[in-house]
């Protein structure tokens, strides 16, 4: 088994070799390590992408808007870098649509890190696959096959508001249960046991 450290260092160097700057290569190394740690086939997808990278004409998303469509296909690395670098402005959008992106799994690693930076969960639907990015702590997904994803025709991203997954009723019920770990108090017992006294008006 290759260690995550080996994966990061080697994909960083491979990215430099394919023509990216050292700074971008560092990001790619970090991201592929991240995908592999989350159990997603980052290295396999990157390897396939680099096989065609130089012979295909992939595009960059320069300014990310609510709807983005290339003439050919977007490069997942340059688009991912821009997505990450523009995170503060694009998080104001409710939804973003990205059409035609090559090897989208590589792009997803940038989305995961963006979720941490902006402090919001991001829901992403890619064709029939769904991903929930949880502040770069985990990725919840129905994509479990580990296949290489050569392209996606349509990605929809939604920045989720920071809200709880439960209702106030759920909270009350759980809270009331937690109260059962406390001791009932009377005026008399309070006088004896409250360290700060009963009033602070004196």
């Amino acid at each position: 088994m290759r260690s995550f450290s080996e994966i990061e260092v080697t994909t960083k160097k491979a990215s430099k070799a394919i023509g990216f700057s050292w700074g971008i290569s560092e990001e790619v190394g970090k991201n592929i390590r991240l995908l592999e740690m989350f159990g997603l086939p980052g290295l396999k997808n990157l390897n396939q992408y680099y096989k065609i990278y130089k012979i295909s004409n992939f595009e960059n998303i320069d300014e990310i808007s609510t709807s983005n469509t290339p003439r050919t296909f977007y490069c997942p690395i340059l688009s991912g870098i821009n997505f990450f670098d523009q995170s503060s402005s694009i998080s104001k959008f409710n939804e973003i649509e990205i059409n035609k992106i090559a090897f989208p799994l590589i792009f997803l690693s940038f989305v995961s890190r963006t979720s941490e930076i902006i402090g919001k969960r991001i829901f992403l639907k890619m064709d029939d696959k769904e991903f929930l990015f949880n502040f770069n702590e985990s990725i919840y997904s129905n994509y479990l096959t580990g296949d290489v994803l050569e392209k996606s025709d349509k990605i929809n991203l939604k920045f989720l508001d920071n809200k709880n997954s439960f209702t106030e009723d759920d909270w009350s019920e759980i809270y009331n249960l937690s109260l059962k770990t406390y001791v009932d108090e009377s005026d008399k017992s309070r006088e004896r046991t409250a360290g700060a006294g009963l009033t602070d008006n004196d």
Partner: protein, 551 residues
Amino acid sequence: MEIRLRDPKFLMKLSKLGSFHQSKLSFLRSFLSEFKDWKYSRDLFQLNDKGHGRAVYSFTKDKKTYSLICFANEIKDDERSDRVIATKWDAAFTLFDGIPSKEDIDRLNNNVPKQEVGRLSYKELTLSRANKSVRVFDHVVDSLSNGEQPNKEILSKVGYLYRTTAVYGSGKFGLADRFRIKNREEIRGPFRLEMMLVYLVRQFTFDQVNHIAKNKNPKLAVELDPAISRNLGIGNSTGLGMAPFIVNHPTLLNNWIHARETALKQIREIERVSKNEIDIFYNCLIKSLKNITSWNTDSEFQKEKIKNLIEDLKKFIKFMKEDFKFENSYQFNQIYNWSDENLNDECIEYIVSMMMEPYDDIVNPLITQMSSDEEQYFNIPVDRTIEDLRNILENRYSEILKIDFLKDENNQNFWFISKNKEEPRIGDRYIDEGSDLEQPLAIARDINKLYEAVFTKKNSSKIGKFLKDNNHLRHVVRRAFIAEKFPYSEIQDNTIGSKLVPIDMLRLKLSFFGAIKFDPRSDKWLRICMFQGAPLPSELGNFDDKWIYKS
């Protein structure tokens, strides 16, 4: 009185960093302190009469065990090399996480002796190999087998029986990734497991030499005197592989230097130093002179440094005897200021190391702050402005911005990785091939390029926007924002200039390891000694933590 931390602009010059010495903060000393109450044992020792075979040593505490697995092999004299091109070694080692099964040892027997071309697993933590110092090793075997102790003079010239040529960790060749173990209390200090490996290897060398001597002459042989063993360490040959490390781990570098500087500041701020504390400092200094006078090297560069160090120490001792005023307050500040005004860097840093000796209460809490969770600082804050970045560059890199990279001599060298051994090398840009594959270690040059690029940009413009057109500078933008938070994270010097002495970079790291007797073999590699004078594993329960001055 508040003393300021020393200014990184001057402290982080390579000539200064290359003058650092071991101290109480050094990793091999803090390793021994941490593991002093662990149970040591030799669990397996299956060597043939020539000393070839397997051995296992362990440290155990509260159901946690670390085991060193040793494989000693027969190699021909002409196969023995300290160079990285070597493919065979007298012995190879791995530190195993737990107690290895026979299957584990068999698996490792097929991989550990192969080193870089073998494969390790997440169960293994560190990997190393070592060669005998043949002349010394054979002398010890001959002496012991004849019932005599070896000649101390011969031993003191070398200082060890074996020399390691690399110690790998942190995920290399399939070893366990750092994240798997980083929260363990006992390895909070950097390089703890590497230190453990080297320390246990040292014991293996003693056991092996005793075993061979005994088998050579069972009736007459004696064991190596523990006092002589104690005075032997483990050698290490180190090349350029260490140099990129301190550039590639800026927050870690900061934390090492920051701990040292914080200790110095706090010691200088002590208003009333006791007589006992001054005595501890002064006694360590006097005892340490033996380390310097027995410091052998063929390097003219190092000989000159040692000569200056000895002369400066004489001056310093004279100052302590004649001019130092104990009755005045802030005694260590007085000592530091006098040293700073009257001595060279090599001696100033030597004295700084000694000043820590009386102060467990100051030094020990700092040891736990010397690791770094580097991932936390990887993301570039793209929301910050060009004005912020320019301010950081002007404040944190002012010395570097003075370097004129239009001059050829300031671009003389380039760092690259050799295809054959995947090891760092440094070449002359105007002579050697390969500068188009330069590694990103020319930080000073790239910071200058970054400063030029931001110069014409609007103050209020965001970093994210700047990066859109300047991703070729992304690696130094990241560094600049790290340097903003970590003042000692950058070498304030040119790492590709014609005046670069690469071993300054190695020596900085090795001083934090706790190495002594730096012996440069060229400007690109050196030999050192570790654990010379250290207690033996059986003595760890009760030892003097100033052992390093008794070798």
